[in-house]
């Protein structure tokens, strides 16, 4: 068996080991490679940046669960940091039971950095079944749709909710999702209630949303870990972060760089071995 045959029949555990090394080493010893800024990340950042303090709210829909959290949670946290540092009112929503926990984790890690208070600076909306019905019902009345916040306090008693009735008082909906949920936000809420919609999505799903960006149905997009890293860089450069801010996505980009390179090398080696062996078998 020559080298190429060996490569074609390589034990998959060697590949697993290489992937493991490529992920772990840059996480332990970050390289700190710079990430360029894409126009859609900048568009979303600029839009949020122009929202007046204590004016219309930003509704962040946490449309993801822990499976896609490494890519999406840094986006949610960065947007929360941006809003809290500018005193922009935030409503956090989870349309599935497993999404609610992600809000809890994101708020726990960010609110204390800015002294954000529930009911004054942000509202944590509880889970209500019926995804699309909830989206549409919020267009009529947010208080009537949910009744109470996640902590059980009546929404109409919260100071932040005194001037937020429905989507008329929402400046932007940001759907952070690894599924098709942002499309529902754009179609059902963006079109019906004329609310601006932004999206944060996994790198795999980002390609789907370019036509929505081109039509203006999404005002901006954070695509994958790269988008999250770009947003982290933007809020840091504008001074919206506290000292000792950990750029989780930026660190992850090093690991992603190495794994992508490994994948490219593996695919090229796999193809070289495949074609060499095919040529050899034809000659025989």
């Amino acid at each position: 068996m020559n080298f190429l045959e060996k490569m074609m029949n390589i034990d998959r555990r060697w590949i697993y080991l290489l992937v493991g090394i490529c992920v772990l080493v840059p996480l332990i010893r970050p390289v700190g490679l710079p990430t360029s800024l894409t126009p859609y990340t900048k568009a979303l950042f600029d839009y949020i940046d122009k929202i007046p303090a204590d004016g219309p709210a930003v509704l962040i829909s946490f449309d993801f669960d822990p499976s896609t959290a490494p890519e999406l949670q840094p986006m949610a946290q960065s947007i929360l940091r941006h809003c809290f540092s500018k005193d922009i009112n935030v409503m956090c929503l989870g349309l599935m039971p497993t999404y609610i926990g992600m809000i809890d984790i994101a708020l726990s890690s960010v609110k204390d950095e800015y002294g954000a208070v529930s009911g004054e600076d942000f509202v944590f909306l509880p889970y209500v079944p019926g995804v699309t019905a909830v989206m549409l019902s919020m267009g009529e009345s947010i208080v009537n749709t949910f009744g109470r916040d996640y902590y059980g306090i009546p929404l109409d008693s919260l100071s932040m909710m005194q001037h937020i009735r429905n989507y008329d008082d929402v400046a932007l909906v940001v759907s952070i999702s690894g599924s098709a949920m942002p499309q529902s936000w754009a179609v059902l809420v963006g079109t019906t209630y004329h609310v601006k919609v932004g999206v944060g999505t996994t790198a795999v799903s980002a390609a789907e949303y370019y036509s929505w960006l081109q039509t203006g149905q999404f005002i901006g997009m954070l695509g994958g870990l790269k988008g999250a890293a770009e947003y982290e860089n933007l809020i840091e450069s504008k001074g919206y972060t506290i000292e000792g801010f950990r750029k989780v996505a930026t660190k992850g980009m090093d690991a992603q760089s190495f794994v992508h390179i490994l994948m490219i090398v593996l695919i090229i080696i796999g193809n070289i071995a495949f074609f060499s062996l095919r040529k050899k078998s034809r000659q025989i």
Binding site: I10, R12, I15, Y16, L18, V19, G20, V23, L33, P34, T35, S36, T38, P66, S67, T68, A69, P70, T98, G101, D104, L107, S108, V128, P129, G130, V131, T132, A133, S137, E140, S141, T145, Y150, Y151, A203, A206, A207, E208, Y210, S211, Q214, K226, M253, D254, Q256, S257, F258, V259, H260, I261, M263, I264, L266, I267, I269, G270, N271, F274, F275
Partner: protein, 206 residues
């Protein structure tokens, strides 16, 4: 009657909501709000049916000692325990309920999804071959995008991000838009078939 009544409800609700959409009258608006509340209530009953179904399936597995019945036991225990904690002890920051989520649910789901990276690397090595012209095109574009979307690629070839944006903004978008239009037309056709009672799959029984 078991079929006619659901068909009539689907027809009346479907046509009613279409007509309502075009009538900006207070009565129409109230009907719409009421319908949304009903939809949320139906969603709650769906959750009850789903929980019942989960229990029926797993209790049957445990009773018959089917292969992997132990996992069914763990599933039911997890459902009951989590519900008990949420209802009796309460939810909120630093509660046992949120700790169950943060320290059990999050690591388990993250682990399952992380394993994909290993399988994908192995699968790409074995299966991603330039066998045909289309496969070659796909392979080349995928390699370019993979390389250009990470900082190391941007460092090696500074022009690459702009080129990738072009790929995503034009060839990719053209294909995506075609798919979207097809999906949209399909959704309209399916909705009409359901409202008019031509598509009856949702009634069950084939």
């Amino acid at each position: 009657m078991k079929r006619q009544i659901p068909l009539a409800i689907a027809f009346i609700c479907g046509i009613g909501m279409i007509i309502q959409f075009f009538i900006p009258h207070p009565v129409s608006q109230r009907t719409y709000q009421e319908a949304l509340q009903w939809q949320i209530i139906v969603g709650i009953f769906m959750a009850i049916i789903a929980i019942r179904s989960l229990f029926v399936v797993h209790i049957d597995k445990i009773k018959r000692k089917k292969e992997g019945w132990g996992y069914s036991f763990i599933t039911l225990f997890a459902v009951l325990f989590t519900a008990f904690v949420g209802i009796r002890i309460g939810i909120g920051e630093d509660s046992l309920f949120s700790h169950l989520y943060a320290y059990i649910m999050v690591p388990m789901q993250s682990t399952m999804f992380s394993l994909l990276a290993f399988y994908m690397a192995s699968a790409a090595y074995r299966a991603f071959k330039a066998r045909t012209a289309q496969a070659t095109l796909l392979l080349v574009v995928a390699l370019i995008v993979m390389f250009g979307r990470v900082p190391i690629g941007e460092k090696v070839a500074p022009w690459l991000p702009a080129f990738i944006e072009w790929i995503l903004m034009y060839p990719n978008m053209a294909a995506q838009r075609g798919i979207l239009l097809g999906v949209g037309l399909g959704m309209i056709a399916t909705s009409l078939k359901i409202i008019l009672g031509i598509e009856r799959g949702y009634l069950g029984g084939g």
